[in-house]
Amino acid sequence: MNDFNPARLSRRAVLQWFAATAAALSAGDAGLSALAPPAASGGTPSGVGYGTDPDLLRTYQPGEAWPLIFQASQKACVSALCDTILPADHLGPSASSQGVPAFIDEWVSAPYPLQQADRPLILEGLTWMADAAVLRFKKEVSALDEAQMRELCEAVCNPEGLRVGFKNAVRFFNKMRSLAMGAYFSTPAGWEAIGYVGNTPLARFDGPPVEVLEALGIQQTVV
């Protein structure tokens, strides 16, 4: 009942395969909807935040404000997924080179309500990914090649996935993508990738350059 044919499948076939896998594994919504407590699949967050008067001038690495909870396999899975979402290319380096996986770890480990609400989805989603990789490719997620990672992502990156019983897998992927984008684009490399220029002292502020004004059909009105 599980199709391990490594040949590249059509998009429709991929979706069907995932539906079949889901049925076999109960790893679609059935696996994710329970959203079991995270203790079984990761460490327990410390529950202590940085307080109301933290030192704002020092540099913090993930893990310094509170302990991280990811196990090695979870780190590897997150790293592989983040680098598929935001790979090294002509627009800049990979997500993992910018500390994005560690940020995700910091996020699920954080003691605050918003992050705690995301934790079951992310931890269960990582378990689901690991199961899917073994079932589909007989590999760990971190050992998948690019085409294989894309195949996994194709099934869950789009609301179409909702129709084939992957509501929570789609939610998981979108959450990971949103968190990874936030983390990536808040680094100097991410700034360059997205086109943010600033955070540097200037002697004067000239407003948008001529090419921008012309492109928008506007004029500088403050002289």
């Binding site: 704002l56 984008m181 997205i194 002292p201 506007i218 403050v222």
Partner: protein, 596 residues
């Protein structure tokens, strides 16, 4: 050492000032430079912007990329420390379980208070704003006219430094020539809004903000502020020279280590401390105004938070500038819980906030914009003052008071949150996602309604009969109510912003609800709480007279937002400072004549 502990305080002072923000800071400045011996009580810790402000720190250097948490409500790098919507051990309560009848109370606990992180928007009230009841029969007139406050607005603008232009528009006062600093250039989204706003009659133009776009003129301004007082002139000039002009980077909400924007801690307190006439006691949480058997104030009872002990400080005059809510709380808790200055029964009544709602839009014209630096002055450059006074006067509108529009583009430093909305990149990952992010980044604009709320009987605070804070002091219980005027106002704003976005060829984002009660910002959320000890012409229907002086206790002054008789759409801080300076001048004169 001017920042002192309780044990180092003097036996008695001329004036004790409770609170160190815009009102307390202005009072301390004016009084100490006039030679009065002052002591300031601040409930939070000492705070030193020059040493503590994270100026160029990046989100990736902070926990959770600097995103907001319950411990840092506006993000890790926001200047507010030890404060926010909730303060541990210092609760407040709501009289109603209904969301729309609740008030959210922002309380910083730090030297300088809200002035450390505020938006620096510094708009003068106009002539109409002081006499609203005379114009439309609603709310209350102030016992002060624009003409009386005008010179004080000018003095405050010269002292703190405000950029902007004179527009000559109705009820949007000009400053005298040469007072305002040069306005910053418009950014792309601001100029685009200006262009399309014109076709709808919406006048986007340079906003007024307390940021130095060039150094203050320390050679000439001090003599204009303090004629016949060379000593004060010298101290103020020294303080002005210590402030640098803006270097066009970093958000003002972080505060400013170089003093390029106004915060009490970098503008009001340095010259006041340099006089040697000001002691500041931090971690001093005021509990009561002390009064004697003749009904005169004799000082303040406070908790020294470092020891938990009750302490007293004595003074000939007491000034409360603790924020509307906290000032009300102190007044009601005074005199052994019987209250002071409350023969009118109006202490705590007529609390107002600014009316707010926000609409964001995505503008295709702004997609794929060539990268360029739009950090600017660390906040807004443009706004639109209220433009429909005539329509309101002729009875064409279904709400009585106006709003101004604050706006923002999105080509700013990504702050750790996804800078591109998820729905715009649906289904994408990999290089195509990065390309889409680059395309859409900077293409969002947002418009905020900032409108006038009319005081009403249903918006007030009182002492909770049961709940106390960790020192055993009764806490505030809030009541809130919007009238049709505010709800119709936000409905108008929402419709207008939608039209503007569509006129620009864009699409409105996330239309949450059609019900104004669901899209109006909840009470307190704009953090412009004023009222609670309103000023008026008669003791029976006001708490303060025209000099911010309580009718009942003539040596008790209130110099925060509490005496506001209305809350025009203009942000309250500049008016708090102008009123405080004026009240301080009156206090000095009365003290000189032996009337206090």
């Amino acid at each position: 050492m001017p920042i002192i502990t309780s044990s180092k305080s003097q036996p008695s002072y001329d004036v004790v000032i409770v609170g160190s923000g815009a009102g307390g800071g202005q009072m301390a400045y004016t009084l100490s430079l006039a030679g009065l011996k002052c002591v300031m009580l601040e409930a939070g810790r000492n705070y030193q912007p020059a040493l503590e402000t994270p100026m160029f720190q990046r989100p990736d250097q902070a926990p959770l990329r600097g995103l907001p948490t319950p411990e840092k409500n506006f993000g890790f790098f926001d200047s507010t420390v030890d404060g926010g919507w909730e303060v541990p051990g210092e609760p407040y309560t709501q009289a109603s379980e209904k969301k729309e009848e609740q008030f959210h109370w922002w309380r910083p606990r730090m030297l300088g208070g809200r002035t450390n992180h505020w938006g620096r928007i510094s708009l003068r009230n106009g002539p109409y704003d002081f006499k609203p009841r005379s114009r439309d029969g609603l709310g209350f007139d102030w016992p002060v006219s624009y003409g009386e406050l005008d010179p004080y607005y000018t003095k405050v603008e010269m002292l703190i430094g405000v950029y902007g232009t004179n527009s000559g528009r109705e009820n949007t006062p000009d400053s005298p020539a040469g007072v305002l600093l040069p306005p910053p250039k418009g950014r792309a989204a601001e100029l685009l809004s200006q262009k399309y706003g014109k076709s709808l009659g919406i006048p986007f133009l340079s906003i007024h903000r307390a940021v130095l776009t060039r150094p203050l003129d320390a050679e000439t301004i001090p003599a204009k502020l303090h004629p016949n007082n060379p000593w004060a002139q010298r101290l103020v000039a020294d303080s002005m020279r210590a402030r640098a002009a803006c270097f066009w980077a970093t958000d003002c909400g972080r505060g400013c280590s170089t003093g390029a924007n106004y915060q009490s801690t970098t503008v009001h307190l340095p010259p006041a401390l340099a006089t040697g006439n000001l002691d500041v006691i931090a971690n001093a949480h005021a509990r009561e105004v002390l009064v004697n058997s003749e009904g005169k104030a004799t000082g303040v009872l406070y908790i020294d938070k470092t020891t938990g002990q009750e302490c007293r400080v004595s003074a000939r005059v007491v000034v409360l500038a603790a924020s509307s809510g906290e000032t009300v709380r102190i007044l009601l808790n005074s005199n052994g819980g019987r209250g002071v200055a409350n023969s009118s029964g109006l202490v705590g009544k007529y609390i107002m906030d600014t009316v707010g709602t926000n609409v964001a839009g995505q503008i295709p014209q702004l997609e794929n914009c060539p990268p360029h630096n739009e950090d600017g002055a660390g906040g807004s450059h443009f706004y639109a003052p209220w433009w429909l006074y005539q329509e309101q006067a002729s009875g064409k509108m279904n709400f009585a008071r106006g709003y101004h529009i604050e706006m923002g583009g999105s080509r700013r430093m990504p702050n750790g949150a996804n800078p591109v909305s998820d729905d715009l990149t649906q289904g994408l990952y990999g290089t195509s996602l990065k390309e889409a992010a680059r395309r859409y980044y900077g293409s969002m604009v947002s418009y905020s309604c900032r409108g006038e709320m009319i005081p009403n009987e249903g918006s007030f605070c009182e002492l909770d009969p049961a709940v106390k804070d960790k020192w055993g002091i009764p806490v505030l219980r809030w009541h809130w109510k919007w009238s049709e005027h505010e709800l119709n106002q936000v409905a108008h704003a929402r419709k207008t912003f939608g039209e503007l976005i569509e006129t620009m060829g864009g699409k409105v984002r996330k239309h949450i609800s059609d019900k104004p009660l669901e899209f109006i910002e909840p009470g307190g959320k704009v953090i412009h709480e004023v009222g609670g000890a309103i000023m008026g012409g008669r003791p029976k229907d006001s708490v303060c007279n025209r000099w911010n002086q309580t009718w009942d206790v003539k040596n008790l002054f209130i110099s925060d937002g509490a005496p506001f008789a209305s809350n025009s759409d203009k942000n309250p801080t500049l008016t708090i400072m102008a009123l405080a300076w004026r009240a301080a001048d009156h206090l000095i004169e009365e003290a000189r004549q032996g009337n206090l």
